[in-house]
Amino acid sequence: MENFSEHIVKEIAERGATPKPRWHFLLKRSVFWTLAGLSIVIGGIAVSVAIYVFIDNDSLATFQNSAPQEALRNLAQSIPYIWLFVLGLFTVSTYLGFRRTRKGYRYATVLVVVVAVVLSLVFGLTLDRLDFGQSVHKYLLSHTGVYDILIHSSEDEGDFEGSH
């Protein structure tokens, strides 16, 4: 009677199963590393635009002269939520990509998320110094209608972000 190991080898032969080539796995792992890396880059771009949009508006300039309640409201309206949402989305994407790499499972979710956000912030601050955020913001304003709506969705509630 055939034993289990012989049965498995026979079953492998009958199914015509062969080991997938090494490059298949290298490519798969590269895809996840690329996804993680690209997500940090996009997160960094989101941070650089968010910094530009947040700083470049009247409410910050008039912050000290406004009544506390009004100042806080203006501040809240100046926060570019859409870009923070993009940062959040790509932080999740970084986590998912990294988690699927060979040793990604070893690291706690909180640690991976914090490192991803910190890397995006560092990259975003660097891009901001190079005025990259401003370029992206202006490009999107002049080339897409939907960005204008998204970024100024709370404009009717107050004075928000004057420069286009």
Partner: protein, 192 residues
């Protein structure tokens, strides 16, 4: 003694990539512990265990080039078998039924050593209670308890098998023991 017995798993993996017959040595080496593990996870039917093991070994063979030689081959095989078993439960839409054997008590006795559970409860009652309690606790806790206290795997090995951080393994063991203890309390009516 067969020549393959003196070879390392890594050597056997390399040979299997060139010749599928060499893979039989790896199957022979890991069949018994994996069969026992599948049973401990709650697969009662020998036919189901055969199917799970067959799929796990064929999957391992197809993915041999993905095996990281810096890690134990056994842990990698446990991972594939674990995933195949969980997938079996989901496909069948059945809850695991932990086999009622003396083994059930081993998990309790091992846990007793690490908790404040008194061990003087009647063994008959205890056996039935452990049986029900193990089957009743959440899947991730049952898996870590089985791996830790029945398979006697290290935290690092459990982390590798379940693909979770080592810290999470420790958390699951602690929660699993608590959940098992609470469930046992319900079944025995005793203050365990």
């Amino acid at each position: 003694m067969p020549a393959s017995a003196s070879k390392t798993d890594q050597e056997l993996v390399q040979e299997s990539l060139a010749d599928r017959h060499a893979f039989a040595a790896l199957v022979a080496k890991y069949e018994a512990p994996l069969r026992r593990y599948v049973k401990r996870l709650g697969v009662n039917s020998p036919e189901d265990a055969d199917d799970i093991l067959q799929e796990a070994f064929i999957k391992a063979y197809v993915n041999l080039n993905d095996y990281d030689p810096s890690l134990p081959f056994g842990a990698w095989m446990y991972r594939i078998t674990h995933n195949e078993t969980i997938s079996h439960f989901r496909k069948q839409r059945v809850r695991p039924r932990v086999v009622e054997t003396e083994e059930d008590l081993v998990i309790f006795e091992n846990i007793v050593d690490t908790t404040d559970i008194p061990a003087e409860i009647d063994r008959g009652i205890l056996k039935a209670a452990v049986h029900k309690a193990l089957a009743g606790i959440a899947e991730q806790y049952r898996s870590v308890l089985v791996l830790r206290f029945l398979e006697e795997k290290s935290y690092d090995e459990i982390a590798e098998i379940l693909q979770i951080p080592t810290g999470t393994v420790a958390t699951y063991i602690s929660r699993g023991k608590r959940e098992l203890k609470d469930t046992l309390k319900k079944f025995t009516g005793a203050d365990v």
